[in-house]
Amino acid sequence: MSNIQQLNDLATQVRRDILRMVHQVNSGHPGGSLGCTEFFVALYNEIMELNDQFDMDGIGEDLFFLSNGHISPVYYSVLARRGYFPVKELNTFRKIDSRLQGHPTTHEGLPGIRIASGSLGQGMSVAIGAALAKKLNKDEHLVYSLHGDGELQEGQNWEAIMYASGNKVDNYIATVDYNGKQIDGATDDVLPLGDLRAKFEAFGWDVLEVENGNDIEAVIKGLKEAKNRTGKGKPVCVLLHTVMGHGVDFMMHTHAWHGKAPNDEQLEKALAQNPETLGDY
């Protein structure tokens, strides 16, 4: 499929999309979006098997669920650039009468979205349900999901984590965006997650870690390894170590840009670090 240079070019363009989208409406969540750019680019262009046409049931293709819905900018950009809807529609993000709501939703019928998310902690349960439907339908394709690390403070996740291993939901790969940050600060300060790997393993999951979640080759390698581990009786967890705000030097290594848009000057500086590759929307 795509070579690494093409994927990196796409990632750079996606970063520009994210920055321009949140800047235009002076709202949205750039930090986590920038940190998960390589993950989304790899997933939608290198990892998942996808049908040409979107339909809700997604029979005969892999499915993805975004649980931490606030990073909608990266999701929308990657979906648009994968052909789910016109790239120019990114211009409507968070505006009135848009399909690109602040948090993803099925309500306005945006192709590529299969569940509303934003109220945290619900996506893993939904992904498990979709994985169970795939098994009932004898559909061999996989279900993927992404979760914030701070989001794991929501108790419903642990109900789902317990269910997935207890019921051998092994056609499912849950990735955690392990950036160590949430709105109020470091996860270690807000509510420590402890040894996340040990926790997932204690619950009966097969866990692998991607140490550099902002290196496209490392992400692809990690997700391919995760795929290899499916079908063996255990759900698979990928702990994806990322840097919130990655790709914009002044947004990195801080939680300050979790949910804040850059001003005109900051946008210019950020875009200069991510030169246009595939054409702005």
Binding site: H107, S125, V126, A133, D139, Q156, Y163
Partner: protein, 317 residues
């Protein structure tokens, strides 16, 4: 007065179980979920006949709602099962975001609604669930009155595209509607025609309304009795046609009077034809332990309470 015969007391939750058995045999897309209450929901036969289509989620209702939402992606029709309290208030945000806002075809089936689960007390009773669920955009809310109607409703909602809240109860109550009835969502049932007063009742209160109507008819009061099994969408025409004749109305439900059937009826009347209305409902209170009959007496939810409400509303005409 039209005569209704109790063919033998049965619990409405068993009507749900019987409906699920039928669906298990007739609709391969129907799947059932349960949060550690198989016996209470009476779905053992469905499970025995369709083990691959049953998901035991354990005591984890939030996860159950999310899994149900996910199962619809791929064409399944999930029926979730637990007590009404744990089907609604406990998991309201999961239902709101993952099911209602996402437009998922999930059937939330809730046993032990209202006061009549009895001795367990207020932690397990719920008198707010109709209000919670009817406020969700796109949610259909159904509260059938007996075993036969619950069975028919269970079968009918599988054919309805969209989220549904189906509410039923624990105690054995009169079973008087036809065994082979066709259940039409949103269509009120005229049980007895009359001209002096309208009683619209839902759930367990429908049988009580019939008893009350008989007592009132014996005193020469002509009572119209309507079974409102679907609270949302409400059969507004049936209500308006009836009060056009009678000029007053009593609503009866096993629910708080805030947020229940009565308030839905009030809205319709206020907008179209204001007439005196009295409410047979719990007056903004939690329940408590006791036998179902004791609770219905204490909280004013039986046929005597309906007779009193009719006397009161007639004076206001």
């Amino acid at each position: 007065m039209k005569k209704y015969t109790d063919t033998g007391k049965k619990d409405t939750r068993s009507g749900y179980g019987a409906g699920m058995t039928v669906l298990g045999r007739t609709n391969p897309n129907v799947v059932a979920l349960c949060a550690d209450l198989i016996g209470s929901l009476k779905i053992q036969e469905f499970i025995d006949e369709n083990p691959e289509r049953f998901f035991q989620v354990g005591i984890a209702e939030a996860n159950m709602m999310g899994i149900a939402a996910g199962l619809t992606i791929g064409g399944k029709i999930p029926f979730t099962g637990t007590f009404a309290n744990f089907s609604t208030g406990r998991v309201y945000d999961q239902i709101r975001q993952s099911i209602a806002y996402s437009g998922k075809n999930v059937k939330i089936c809730a046993s032990h609604a209202g006061l009549t689960l009895g001795e367990d007390g207020a932690t397990h009773q719920i008198l707010e669930d109709i209000g919670l669920m009817k406020m969700l955009p796109g949610m259909t809310v159904i509260n059938p009155c007996d075993y036969n109607q619950t069975k028919a409703a269970t079968i009918a909602i599988a054919e309805h595209e969209g989220p549904v809240y189906l509410r039923f109860g624990r105690p054995a109550v009169a079973n008087f509607t036809p065994e082979d009835q066709k259940f039409e969502i949103g269509k009120a049932l005229m049980l007895n025609e009359g001209t002096d007063v309208t009683i619209v009742a839902t759930g367990h209160l429908v049988w009580e309304a019939l008893i009350a109507a008989e007592a009132l008819e014996n005193r020469g009061i002509s009572v119209e009795v309507i079974d409102i099994h679907t609270i949302k969408p409400l059969d507004e025409k049936a209500i308006l046609d009836s009060v056009a004749k009678t000029g007053c109305i009593v609503t009866a439900e096993e629910h708080n009077y805030y947020g229940g059937l009565g308030e839905s009826v009030s809205r319709v009347l206020a907008q179209n034809r204001p007439v005196p209305q009295e409410f047979v409902a719990v007056k903004d209170s939690f329940g408590e332990s006791g036998t179902p009959a004791q609770l219905m007496e204490k909280y004013g939810l039986n046929n005597k309470a309906i007779v009193n409400a009719v006397e009161k509303v007639l004076k206001r005409k």
